[in-house]
Amino acid sequence: DGLQLEAHPDQTYYMVTFLSGYSFWTECWRGFQDAAAMLGVEAKYGGTTEYDVNSAVTSLEQVIALNPTGMAVTCMDADAYVDPINNAIDAGIPIVTFDSDSPNSKRTTFLGTSNYQAGVTAADYIGEKLGGKGRVACLTRTGQSNINERIEGFTTELADKYPDIEMVQVVDAGNDENEAATNLSSLLSTDSDIDYIFAALQQAVLGTETALSEAGLTGEIKVVGFDTDKTTLDSIKSGSVEATLSQSPYAEGFWSMIYVYMLANQDCIKSADDWYAKGFPSLPATGDSGCAVVTADNADMYYLAE
C-alpha cells in the first residue's frame, strides 16, 4: 500500500533568510507555503531585514529558541552559520539549507544553485550570443558576498572560456536605482562600445535600463539581469532587457519544505529502520534547483501566479 500523509497542524516549520524583504524570498516563501499547505503543517517566515552577520545569526538563533519542528535556512555566511545550524540539529531541529549553503555544517541537504554557478551561466549565455567575441561590463554591489560570488563566476568563466570577450569594467550599483544609473552612466560616457551588461542583482536592473535609455543606447547594449521580479519580466517582454537568470526560488522553497518535512517525520521514508540516526543515506545531500535563463520566449511562464 502507498504512503499516506497525515496532516500535522501542530507542526511549525520556519523559513529563515537574511536581508528579508526582497522579492526573491517572497517567491521562495510562496513555494514553501504551498508545500506546507499540501502537507497540512504550519509555515512561518522569519529573518532580519539588515545585512549584518550578527543580526542575521541572532535572529536565526532566536527562531531556533522557539523550537520549531524544522527549518529551511539560507546562509548569509557559510562559516558563521556552522555553529548555529549544528546546535539546532543537536537539539533535534532538522535543518535544510537553501539558496546559500553552509557546507561544513551538519545540515542534511542543500537546495539551490551556487551563486558562482549562476554567474557562470550568465557568462555562457552572453559568450554564446556574442560568438566568443565582444565587450561586456557588469554591475555588482560592493560588500554583498552572494553578489560578489556571481561576479566571480561570471568573470572567471569569461576569462577561461571566452578569452576574446573583454571585461570592460565592474561598476558598483550603490544603494538604489539612482546610484546604479548614475554610476553606469559614468561608464557609458567614457566607453559606450559595449555589447552586454550583466546586472548581477535585481536592484541594479532598473538603474541599468534607465541609464541606457538616457544615453540612447537601449537595444544597442544588451542587458542580462538577475532574478524574475515582475518589472524585470515586463522589461524582457518590452525588449529593454534581453534575458534574466532565475535560480528557481519557488522550487527552492517548495522542495525545502518537502525535505525538511521528511526529516521531521522520518518514518515517512522506509529505507532503513531509524535511518536518520544511523546515517543511512535517504535524502540527497544537495539538490540543484538549476539556473535558468529567462528570455522573451519563456518569460510569461515566470510571472508569479496571482
Partner: protein, 331 residues
C-alpha cells in the same frame, strides 16, 4: 573706524576677490574645481555633454533635498528620513496610478505623503521637543517599512495610463541639451538659495538654530519654525520621490535608501554647521555636486569597486582638512 574706511577705498577688484574668499562655500568650490581640472586632464570623457548630463541628472534629486536639509541643519536638527520618504512618495505615485488614479492626482498625493511624514517629524520635534536624530530615524524606518509592505520587497512598474507619457517627460525629457530634471533642480536651488539667504522667514530658522532661547524671547515662534523646517524637508523629499518615479517609471523597495547620509555629509562639506545657525543652500548643493563628481571620477578612472569606499572616505576627510586649514589662514 578709520581702518574700515581705508579698506573700502581699495580697488573694488581686490574686494570682490576678498568677498569670494570669505564665502563659506569657497573651499568646497576650490576642491570641486581642482577635481574637475584633474579629471579633465586625465580623461577626455569627463567634459563631454553626455557625461555632464548624466551626472547632473544623478545629483538633481539629492540637490533638491539638500535645499531643505540645509534649513534642517541650520535649525540645529537634521532629517534622517528623507531617503525613505522619497521612496514612499515614489511608491505611492506608482501604486495609485496603477490603481486607476489620475497620474497628476497621484503626484500631488506623493508630495502630500512627504508633507505628512514631515509634519509628524516636525510636530514631534517642534512641539514635543523630541530628539531630531531618533525621531527622524524612527520615521525613516516607518516609511521604509511601508515601502516594503507596498512593494512586497520588490518593485512596481508604472502601468500605462492617460498622462503617464507626459508625466515621464519630466524625469527623462530635455530642453535643448539640458535635462528637464536638472532644470527643475536648478530653478529650485536658485530660489531656495535666495530665500534662505535673504527671506525673513528663513532668517528665523537661523535665529532658532543659533540660540533657541533667545529666539523664543524675541517673540519668534520657535516651535512653529522647527515644525515647518521638517514639513519642508518632507515636501521636497516627496517632490524628489515624484521626480524619481517620473524618471524611472518604477518604484522599488530600495528607492532612496542612503540619500540622507549623502545629503547630510554633502551639506556639512559645503559649510553647513551641524550644530545649527550657519549654512547656505549654495554650499550644500556644491557639496552634493562634489560628492557626485567624486563617484563619477572613480568610475571614469575605472577604480576597482573594492577601493571606491576607501577613496571616497579619504577624499571626504581631505576635503574638511583643507576647509579647516583654509579657514584657519583667514582668521
Amino acid at each position: 573706524m578709520k581702518n574700515v574706511a581705508t579698506t573700502k577705498e581699495q580697488g573694488s577688484k581686490n574686494s570682490v576677490w576678498k568677498n569670494i574668499r570669505s564665502m563659506k562655500e569657497f573651499s568646497v568650490l576650490v576642491i570641486l574645481l581642482v577635481l574637475i581640472v584633474f579629471i579633465s586632464v586625465l580623461s577626455p570623457a569627463f567634459l563631454t555633454v553626455t557625461n555632464l548630463r548624466t551626472t547632473a541628472i544623478g545629483f538633481s534629486c539629492n540637490a533638491i533635498i539638500a535645499i531643505a536639509m540645509t534649513l534642517a541643519l541650520v535649525s540645529g536638527g537634521f532629517d534622517l528620513s528623507v531617503g525613505s520618504v522619497l521612496g514612499l512618495s515614489a511608491v505611492c505615485v506608482v501604486v495609485l496610478t496603477n490603481n486607476g488614479w489620475s497620474i497628476w492626482m497621484a503626484c500631488i498625493v506623493g508630495i502630500l505623503v512627504g508633507i505628512f511624514c514631515g509634519s509628524i517629524n516636525g510636530l514631534l520635534i517642534g512641539y514635543l521637543n523630541l530628539n531630531a536624530f531618533i525621531t527622524t530615524l524612527g520615521m525613516q524606518q516607518m516609511a521604509r517599512g511601508i515601502v516594503y509592505v507596498l512593494t512586497n520587497g520588490g518593485s512596481i512598474g508604472l502601468q500605462d495610463a492617460p498622462g503617464v507619457k507626459a508625466f515621464r517627460v519630466i524625469g527623462s525629457g530635455s530642453v535643448g541639451k539640458f535635462p528637464l530634471l536638472f532644470l527643475v533642480c536648478l530653478v529650485l536651488v536658485v530660489i531656495g538659495d535666495i530665500l534662505v539667504r535673504r527671506s525673513g522667514i528663513a532668517r528665523n530658522v537661523f535665529f532658532v538654530g543659533s540660540n533657541e532661547k533667545t529666539a523664543m524671547l524675541s517673540g519668534i515662534n520657535t516651535r512653529l519654525v522647527k515644525t515647518m523646517v521638517y514639513v519642508l524637508t518632507g515636501a521636497l523629499s516627496g517632490l524628489a520621490g515624484v521626480l524619481t518615479a517620473s524618471r524611472f517609471g518604477t518604484a522599488t523597495s530600495s528607492t532612496g535608501s542612503g540619500v540622507e547620509m549623502t545629503v547630510i555629509s554633502a551639506a556639512v562639506i559645503g559649510g553647513v554647521s551641524l550644530t545649527g545657525g550657519k549654512g547656505t543652500v549654495a554650499g550644500a548643493v556644491l557639496g552634493v555636486v562634489l560628492m557626485s563628481v567624486i563617484s563619477n571620477i572613480l568610475v571614469i578612472l575605472n577604480v576597482s569597486v573594492h577601493w571606491q569606499n576607501f577613496i571616497t572616505g579619504a577624499i571626504l576627510i581631505l576635503a574638511i582638512i583643507f576647509d579647516a586649514l583654509s579657514n584657519r589662514k583667514k582668521n
